[in-house]
Symmetry: C2
Subunit: 411 residues, 2 copies
């Protein structure tokens, strides 16, 4: 059960002018589920993406990087679930390229105008023939209103589909931003996540898109962790069709609002992944401030967010908060003065100081910690006492069900 999250209704996912989506059953890994998604973009659409830093990255990630580097329009995305096409060698590269060529033939574009994404089991080969055989059905299903279906078709161990949508008025033109994401395990994105897609019908100058994709990822998918495992397939892509009639460049007065809306959709999608984290029962925000650098704040936030001991204490609603101090201590700041660190625990309605001066705060009472730990949404706030940098990480707790899901996955 996700933590305070439900998939938006189909009508809450606004169509993006210039984008049509279709899904089909291709039997990539299992029968009787829609596991193939085709996204068609209007001519003149541009895209930018950020991808996993995992050195064993998947074949589709390599192909996406090549196609985005070519700088041409992007006319289609194709996404399969079931098999990740990662650690599949030359055969995997050939499968990803063949997929792009088959999509190009369907859509009527060049192969390097297609982006390809896979998610699922690593080290197994993609049944590329079945994937290609499913493309005509996906094409026949293309519809601007199929965001909801596409969000479902890209799921793996997700228990709910993730999507977010905004409409904003810019210079008298209504601009839409809609996105979908998936992921529940192997989540500690490093530069991107597996998988996130945000579309807008604003026209965004192509030179702005790479930085927008990176900034949006850095403020959303790059701030979440479920189990600390960086996937081989993480991909986050922003695409802009221009079909709304609004064109925006860096000098446009609409650029800040459009940029903020894209980032906001990305954050909602990223948080949805954590809320649906494998076995999650709580949503934890870790805010680290007063650090010397943002990098050291992130180190501390991730050390807390990754610690199995901290995460199991949250699961148990046990204010065994010394585990948080231990994680801060081993986060890798060599000259950290433990006596300067403060830690607070908070819920939506209160915050209590847990630790200061190298020990338990004099005002802290166990019953305060116990009360806050019972909430489904908890914030850990850390003051490093070293500067003014800050970082936030969103994570979830660690329950029996995480083990169950990952011991059973694939079976």
């Amino acid at each position: 059960m996700p933590v305070n999250y439900a998939t938006p209704a189909p009508e809450a996912l606004f169509p993006v002018a210039g984008v049509r989506l279709g899904t089909a059953e291709a039997e990539i890994r299992k029968k009787n589920r829609r596991d193939l998604t085709l996204v068609e973009l209007a001519p003149g659409s541009h895209a930018a993406g950020v991808f996993t830093q995992n050195r064993c990255c998947a074949a589709p990630v390599t192909v996406c990087r090549e196609h985005l580097a070519a700088g041409s329009d992007i006319r289609a995305l194709v996404i399969n679930t079931g098999i990740a096409n990662a650690a599949t060698g030359e055969q995997g590269m050939a499968a990803a390229r063949a997929t792009c060529e088959a999509v190009a033939a369907q859509i009527g574009c060049a192969a390097d105008e297609v982006l390809v994404f896979s998610t699922g089991v690593i080290l197994e080969h993609l049944p590329v023939d079945r994937l290609i055989a499913g493309l005509p059905a996906a094409k026949a299903d293309l519809n601007a209103d199929h965001w909801h279906a596409a969000a479902h078709a890209i799921m793996t161990t997700d228990t709910v589909a993730k999507a977010a949508s905004r409409r904003i008025e810019l210079g008298g033109i209504t601009v839409t931003i809609t996105g979908i994401s998936k992921g529940a395990g192997m989540i500690r994105p490093n530069m991107a996540t597996m998988l996130g897609f945000v579309a807008t019908d604003a026209g965004i100058a192509p030179e702005l898109l790479p930085a927008l994709a990176r900034d949006a990822a850095d403020q959303s998918f790059n701030c979440i962790t479920i189990d600390g495992d960086t996937s081989t397939n993480d991909s986050f892509v922003v695409f802009a069709t221009g079909a709304s009639g609004l064109a925006v460049d860096a000098a446009s007065p609409h650029w800040p609002a459009l940029r903020a809306a894209v980032i906001s959709v990305a954050q909602e999608l990223a948080q949805a992944i954590v809320r649906d984290g494998e076995g999650a029962t709580k949503f934890i925000t870790v805010e680290v401030g007063a650090g010397g650098t943002a990098a050291e704040c992130r180190k501390v936030a991730y050390a807390i967010g990754h610690s199995p001991l901290v995460k199991t204490a949250f699961f148990a609603s046990d204010p065994n908060l010394g585990r948080i101090l231990a994680a801060i201590g081993y986060a890798g700041i060599d000259d950290l003065d433990a006596a300067g660190v403060k830690v607070w625990l908070g819920s939506a309605t209160e915050e209590v100081l847990v630790s200061e001066n190298g020990g338990r705060a004099a005002s802290y009472r166990e019953e305060d910690g116990s009360r806050i730990m019972k909430n489904a949404e908890i914030t850990v706030r850390v003051d490093l006492g070293r500067g003014s940098a800050e970082a936030t990480v969103w994570t979830c707790d660690f329950s029996y069900d995480y083990v169950k899901i990952n011991a059973d996955y694939r079976s």
Copy 2:
């Protein structure tokens, strides 16, 4: 249930001349258990230790570092379980110093000739009055044959006591090396572990001891991980009484054999901690070779050893081996060529090549992986194809019981 490990019988733990041990019930955290251990060393004994790199290190760790730096003989060790005396500020430091003074008064030595160790819950104050009140009973219990009882008295979530012992003949003199350790969670020692003690009645030149402690830790406790959480209290101490009558310095022909025996005892104790890892059902050896540096081999070995996805797959006996490749890929070697990596999976009786050339090995069959994964002792061997450095890490799997133990601990 530990993986292929049982506490040695009391008679298998050879007394070390010059060392007497006593335990007592001090009600540090719970009644009706021996939670206080006193170790008395003969005059002229020397010790060296390595301690946690956690910046929120416990008060007793700070005091041990000071006392070892003073360079005097070490005449006693005092160890309590139940409360870690970590994140306890000035009050914690005062408690650790008061403990040393009380022990010094009992033994008849200086306070800086006492080393103090605590293990248990962080962020709670040590009941130092009850600890000191327990010292006379521990002193009355002092006996050269009490290694077995001491191994039990230092346990926390351990399910079995850990101890190892060797007798070797050097130059016609029988030298004994006996050690004990504890730890089952919050185990990813960084320079040392919580807690390991190895004693010998050989006389070791004091200038050799620090390097011996460090080398032994690097080849034992620094090669294990259970959950990736580096404790606030990790301590590993080697002490030498000289009471056997054999004195060894760097030029001695006996030094290599003595050193090897000390390291061997440390390895047995470190592996015992992994075999008794919280919830462990399997003992996993991760050997990484052909690396550019030992440091990068360790990065890869720890990435595999820490991955919750890899560890739950071992628990499930599921050869979902792509998770190992994903961990290699995100281990942090920026210029790693995935196509040059090879991975084998092995048991005591066989080894199969799983992956090469960036994908699944042509010869690999799922049934081979399934058969090997059913073993209680499994080796993952990785060839990075970059050089000649290597590193080994020992770890365990990740089961429901890890979550249960850590959600319940403290309650």
